[in-house]
Subunit: 137 residues, 2 copies
DNA sequence: CTATGTGCAAAGGATTTGCGATAGC
DNA sequence: GCTATCGCAAATCCTTTGCACATAG
């Protein structure tokens, strides 16, 4: 049977703080933010809620390079870009030509349900940082 | 200064076993395989070698859904598909229309260096398993 | 010969879980 | 009041590291 989702204060704040993020924080990034509003909250609660909310389809758990998983307030399909220097993850808009999802037939028999495109590169901040470092040396 | 890579017996076997894999194993999948040939090898050695070999560009470490990282004997750019049921990861061939990499300009200023496409779905084995389970119920 | 690599055991970092107490609905 | 959720501490899982010994080049 279906479990009822309760909107606890903790859950509400976690969701609210996540929705304020334009980038995609890790669980403990978010823990730090939430702690300024709920100083007694535990990291386990943050993890538990992020898991529950993503199971419920309200948010999305992302697996991208780096040790930790990221969380995205927007569960609808879209693509991401990863900064290879500071590990920041942002949304990226790109026109995916329609054939992309349908094309692959040489697939060892997989039934394909979708795809995501992960870009990688350098965020604006890291580009500046690196070019300044080069000038200085 | 550059460190010299020694081709130890362990490293050779690890690389050889990885190259026998058509899919993309985790470090401990590979540990199990290698152990049948080198029973005294340690998991730490497997991790250390996979890290060194991927730093050297001989293989590629993959970050895809699931807890563990995967390793790919082929370090050249290509895309993958993930089985949402058994977590198997395979190569996938798909025609990426040229504009894809260049298109995104609405990027918060990222300098884009490349991208990878991750498909997800069900492998042949899991499709059969699931459709049999449905029949049986 | 000597720097690099190994096995073992222990540490580390991220995430999950058990449990008794708390609080939505 | 019932049950989902909380905070805490401990456990778990994956990966890395320190160290004394071994070995490739």
């Amino acid at each position: 049977m279906l479990k009822l989702l309760r909107m606890t204060h903790q859950r509400e704040v976690i969701l609210h703080e996540l929705r304020l993020c334009s980038h995609h924080p890790t669980a403990d990034d978010l823990y730090d933010r939430v702690k300024t509003r709920l100083p007694r909250i535990s990291l386990a609660t943050v993890y538990r809620n992020l898991e529950i909310l993503s199971q419920a389809g309200l948010i999305k758990k992302l697996t991208i390079d780096g040790r930790q998983k990221r969380f995205d307030w927007d569960p609808t399909p879209h693509n991401h870009i990863f900064c290879m220097n500071c590990q920041r993850v942002d949304d990226i808009t790109c026109e995916v030509p329609e054939p992309l999802v349908a094309v692959p037939e040489q697939t060892t028999g997989y039934c394909i349900l979708g795809c995501r495109i992960n870009f990688f590169g350098l965020c604006m901040h890291c580009q500046e940082y690196i070019s300044n470092k080069e000038k200085g040396e």
